[in-house]
Symmetry: C2
């Protein structure tokens, strides 16, 4: 069986029950085992072995990320004025040990959410970190705001043994990947899969099945991987969303995953759940 998607996995023990207890969190900050995440250019710093870098506690870091064994783990908020360079952060993934990826994802998503949620959406007042950094609270109207997790469906539509893959304008040359889009209010996962394939490629699908999921911290998506059966293969491509979309045979997908000179397209990178979906399809697991 192919590996689980990158970024999936248990990560730290989040010790959720401590978040509402500021005295307990303060005590953990003073624990000799406590460590603080090191940031570099707006992302968690990675050492030469692909591990996250941790240092001594400096000041009063507002994010309590959880425990690594007995060691409490904290993070400051990186400089709020630096632009978020998602492309540079994405490049880091090739250096990151998969076992560290869930913690990288949690810290980066949480930090980016804090950067863009300093004000109360209900009344416009400045808010403060709360619950060990897992929410923000408004001192004016009392509203409590929680980090966003935005579900995105990403799916393989299949017809007559071939898969539908598309190219977004920002992809590297030759890259094709699974179609994807945000789940909207009032939609199930299955409804969102059908709507997105209809919108982007003009085809109707049935029998949507779930495959696997992955957090994706650019900035805060939950990628929900699925498979669907297309009722026909006649494409009407939404050129606002896609440069191109095509049907690929099993042999073409195998060659692309192998990455050799016979490949007719460039497969998504190892960190992307789209690649996991293709690997599972090739393995016959759909």
């Amino acid at each position: 069986m192919p590996p689980d998607p990158f970024f999936a996995g248990p990560g730290l023990d989040r010790a959720d029950h401590l978040r509402a207890d500021p005295v307990a969190i303060l005590a953990l900050l003073c624990d000799g085992e406590a460590r603080e995440l090191v940031w570099d250019n707006g992302a968690p710093a990675i050492d030469e072995q692909g591990k996250l870098r941790w240092g001594p506690i400096v000041g009063d870091p507002p994010l309590f990320l959880g425990f690594d064994g007995p060691s409490p783990r904290f993070s400051s908020l990186p400089d709020g004025n630096a632009p978020i360079d998602a492309r540079a952060h994405f490049q880091l993934l090739s250096q990151l040990d998969a076992a560290e990826a869930p913690t990288f994802a949690a810290a980066l998503s949480l930090a980016n959410w804090h950067r863009r949620h300093g004000y109360c959406s209900v009344c416009g007042t400045v808010t403060d970190p709360n619950r060990g950094g897992w929410s923000r609270k408004c001192g004016n109207c009392g509203a409590e705001h929680y980090p966003r997790v935005d579900p995105v469906v990403i799916m393989l539509a299949e017809h007559d043994g071939r898969l539908l893959l598309g190219r977004q304008p920002h992809y590297p040359p030759g890259r094709y990947s699974a179609l994807a889009g945000f789940v909207e209010p009032g939609e199930s996962i299955e409804d969102a899969v059908a709507r997105e394939i209809k919108e982007e490629a003009g085809i109707a699908v049935v029998n949507v099945t779930y495959l696997c999921s992955q957090p994706w911290p650019f900035p805060s998506s939950l990628m929900v991987g699925a498979h669907a059966e297309a009722l026909d293969d006649s494409l009407t491509i939404d050129t606002n969303e896609l440069d191109d979309a095509r049907w690929f045979s099993r042999e073409e997908v195998v060659a692309a995953l192998d990455g050799g000179p016979a490949a007719s397209f460039q497969a998504p990178p190892h960190s992307a759940i789209a690649r996991t979906l293709l690997e599972r399809w090739v393995d016959g697991l759909k």
Copy 2:
């Protein structure tokens, strides 16, 4: 096969491609077939047949919900100062035709999101509806904000042929239902299922499998239904979250779904995905 979860289904044609075209939306507002959703006490109004009530266009409703056949459908934002009475809205579901439920969910989630997102979270400035009401835009810093969809895992943990169900403090007397909790940043669906069961009931699970999903507009959840295998049945209940949690046999679940005098607990209502999960489990579909 049991029915799909309430609130799941196609609903209106959302015509997403028109949202970025304010001239097209204005033309649709002047279309003789255009209709506007009627609101009652902060929720979409329901007629005696369980259908949503629609009236003529009044003024300039900011939400473009999509098409019902050739008829463009719009909504105003209900009075922003009235408190949201989620409990009263929930009571409406017993009167609502299932075919209308996806549109009810989309309109209610979207309206409630607008009510609580009048200010820019980045800079604190008042924002305006944008993209036919499917986003809000800040005129000061330029940030665009999209409606929240908050993924929640809801799951049946099974051990030795019995299911783990719990009672939240606000449940009606005798009610037990599936454990549930929000997916957090940096988590896959499978990771969230395992963490929530561990936190609330103290047991470890393996082999998490997805079952079905449902939008839940109180205010904006995406319920993700799952099954998991518990490694043991020795419970440590988090009494901050749950009044109680117990293991129930197949016979007890069948009796509760039947609702007769033999039931040892009260099953969740028809609108809740938790009931769909129980129905599917009983049917052996897991």
